[in-house]
């Protein structure tokens, strides 16, 4: 069997024996800067806008709901099962489908929805990134299939950056089958280096920061 064959070849190449422990690995390099919340929000917004994403600040959950209602007016939208969306009253807005737990139904709806609405587990200030952890609350497809994605999250979920995320979740795969970092709208430049947004994923990304 190739497994044993390949492992044997590797051990021969390295002069190691089966079960031999690894030498000490260089330490992981995690550096978390101190950045106050207002600076994080400013940085997040700047980075996202550089990538042609949109960022909106809402003082209260009610304001976030009003913003989202206006943004999706007349469109067919699908919201994730994130408790925060329910808390803000967004899942209950008219024209919004929510509470889907069946894969086939979810796919069907995602394929036709014009807007996908999610929360986000975190946002990363230094890159303008959303962190999506797949769970019963957040499906993978809602932030992926519809042409527009709106994410609503409270400000205390904005981390300084990747290092802080990995400090909080050193083993993401123990919690989820999929952790995805989203940094701006889907894009390509494969034809003559011309930037085109929305090639497979959403061409429009809007982040609503509450508080």
């Amino acid at each position: 069997m190739s497994r044993d064959h390949i492992l044997h070849r590797i051990r021969t190449a390295l002069g190691r024996s089966p079960g031999q422990a690894a030498a000490d690995s260089p330490a992981a390099r995690i550096r978390i800067p101190e950045v106050d919340m207002e600076a994080r929000i400013t940085s997040f917004r700047t980075r996202l806008e550089e990538l042609a994403g949109h960022c909106h600040r809402a003082a209260t959950p009610e304001e976030a709901r009003t913003f989202v209602a206006a943004a999706i007016a007349g469109k067919c939208a699908l919201a994730s099962n994130a408790p925060y969306l329910a808390e803000c009253g967004i899942a209950a807005l008219s024209g919004v489908r929510s509470g889907i737990t069946d894969r086939a139904e979810l796919r069907e709806l995602c394929a036709t929805a014009e807007v996908g609405i999610t929360s986000a587990d975190y946002a990363l200030a230094d890159t303008g990134t959303l962190v999506m952890i797949s769970s019963p609350r957040e499906a993978r497809m809602i932030s992926l299939l519809p042409p527009a994605h709106i994410a609503v999250l409270p400000r205390d979920r904005i981390l300084t950056g990747l290092d802080e995320l990995l400090a909080l979740h050193p083993l993401p795969s123990n919690e989820t089958s999929s952790m995805v970092l989203i940094t701006g709208p889907s894009r390509t430049a494969d034809i003559e280096q011309i930037l085109v947004r929305g090639v497979h994923g959403p061409g429009e990304v809007t982040v609503v920061i509450v508080g």
Partner: protein
């Protein structure tokens, strides 16, 4: 140099449109990188490179340990690991699984590893449909060509080429605007994603302590490939391993910056196992195929082992004065540019294209931009030595060896050296200001003619330095 290598280089050099396309595209990527790794942007860039190098070195030296750890963790999360020694074993596994599950339609995410295996052709041979879903790869697949660049597979194609390919293959109205062409591809491929039985991806990294596959992209096709079908198979070289998820803090900061000049790519997916209890979507089955295909042979060579540290970011291509002139298709295998020049001879044998390690000016730009600090110029020199050694073994370079022995003898005997210098000066027409190559007769014959066809010297001065020194 093989005739094919020579011909492809000349074809590229003579194609003015292609020259401009390659120069502009690589220039843009190169400038993007320079700006985004500058001290103002990333003050600890050099430390990150050193860290990445040290981590890769450590993993390679303990690779069996990390592979086993990775395997345990994938299985703990409900996935499966398959080892494959070559393309046939990868194909057999995928075809076997497809038969068992009744799967026929496959969507593929861009992967250099699967290019290396000619996976699409092999799957098609077994009656499976394998569609590339990255826009550039999709275009290249329609044209039945190889990717031109590691991160920009279709950068040699114009919008008119794309219009031609789309109307011919997709049955759509002719469209020459890239935005609209992209929309066509989105529509066509969206149907493929939703109908696919199986998704095949590569992996940018494999994380040992998490049993995770990390995938980096801008379009979203990889997310769709790995999330929409019921089966996800990741095919990855064994060298893609990193020890811990926390090491992503090092590698992700370098990868997109080096490759495309972005702080992070649009999507980074960290995937492990099938969808968990309660998760609404994601695959039901998750496999990682760990591929050897020559990698263990490279691992055994201490001096050249570092070739396996490569992250496939493409930075060395964008900065290479040779790649920027001769382009990706001149190279004899799927891996092009400086990294292609060092791994192709090691994977396929130096006899595959003996001229390859010599197709470099050894300027060192590649080593300067490499995020994991692979010493590419040193490796090229080592490989040149190996090519020459093989030639000596096959008695192919007797004349050249003789010439260099003669040269060494002259250089170590001062009086002979002076005589030879005078003789050479006499043959070169210094008064006319001509260069040695334009010298008639004696210098331009036989093997010397071939040698001089690529080299030249300024005319000899009337008096040599030694003469001037004596008469001072």
């Amino acid at each position: 140099m093989s005739i094919q290598f020579d011909r492809k280089i000349h074809q590229t050099l003579e194609n003015a449109n292609l020259q401009l396309a390659v120069y502009t595209a690589t220039g843009r990527l190169k400038d993007g990188r320079t700006q985004i790794v500058s001290p103002a942007e990333l003050p600890d860039y050099q430390e990150l490179r050193t860290e990445a190098h040290d981590l890769k070195k450590h993993v390679m030296e303990n690779l069996d340990h990390y592979l086993e750890e990775f395997e345990r963790n994938v299985e703990a999360h409900g996935g499966h690991v398959v080892y494959a020694k070559d393309a046939t074993e990868v194909t057999d596994f995928i075809v076997g699984l497809a038969k068992e599950r009744g799967a026929r339609r496959i969507v593929k995410a861009k992967s250099m590893t699967s290019e290396e295996l000619d996976l699409n052709e092999r799957l098609e041979h077994h009656g499976l449909e394998a569609v590339e879903t990255d826009l550039g790869e999709f275009i290249v697949q329609l044209a039945h060509e190889r990717p031109f660049h590691i991160v920009g597979p279709s950068l040699h194609k114009t919008r008119y080429d794309v219009a031609e390919l789309f109307t011919k293959n997709l049955g759509v109205e002719r469209e020459e605007v890239p935005e609209k062409q992209t929309a066509i591809a989105r529509k066509v491929l969206r149907q493929k994603f939703l109908a696919a039985d199986m998704g095949i991806s590569g992996a940018n990294m494999l994380v040992a302590d998490s049993g995770a596959v990390v995938l980096v992209e801008n379009e979203g096709n990889i997310r769709l490939t790995t999330s929409a079908p019921k089966i996800h198979i990741a095919v990855a070289g064994i060298e893609k391993m990193i020890p811990r998820a926390q090491d992503l803090a090092t590698f992700l900061k370098l990868l997109a910056r080096s490759g495309t000049g972005q702080r992070l790519s649009v999507y980074t997916s960290i995937l492990s196992g099938p969808r968990r209890e309660g998760e609404i979507d994601g695959p039901d089955e998750f496999y990682v195929v760990l591929l050897d295909n020559g990698r263990t042979r490279v691992l055994a060579d201490r001096a050249k082992r570092q070739s396996l540290y490569c992250l496939r970011c493409g930075a060395c291509l964008n900065t290479c004065p040779v790649y920027r002139k001769i382009g990706g298709h001149s190279f004899p295998w799927v891996y092009s540019g400086p990294i292609g020049a060092i791994i192709t001879p090691q994977f396929l044998g130096i006899g595959h294209e003996p001229a390859l390690p010599f197709a470099s000016s050894l300027c060192g730009a590649c080593a300067e931009v490499c995020p994991v600090k692979i010493e590419i110029p040193e490796l090229l020199l080592t490989l040149r030595g190996e090519v020459r050694k093989a030639e000596t073994r096959d008695r192919k370079n007797l004349l050249e060896k003789l010439a260099f022995r003669l040269f060494a003898w002259i250089m170590t005997h001062p009086r002979l050296y002076e005589m030879a210098g005078r003789a050479a000066a006499a043959m070169a027409p210094s008064e006319t200001g001509g260069w040695i190559r334009s010298a008639p007769a004696l210098m331009n014959i036989g093997p010397l003619r071939a040698w001089l066809s690529q080299r030249d010297l300024p005319p000899a001065p009337p008096k040599s330095f030694r003469e001037l020194w004596r008469r001072r």
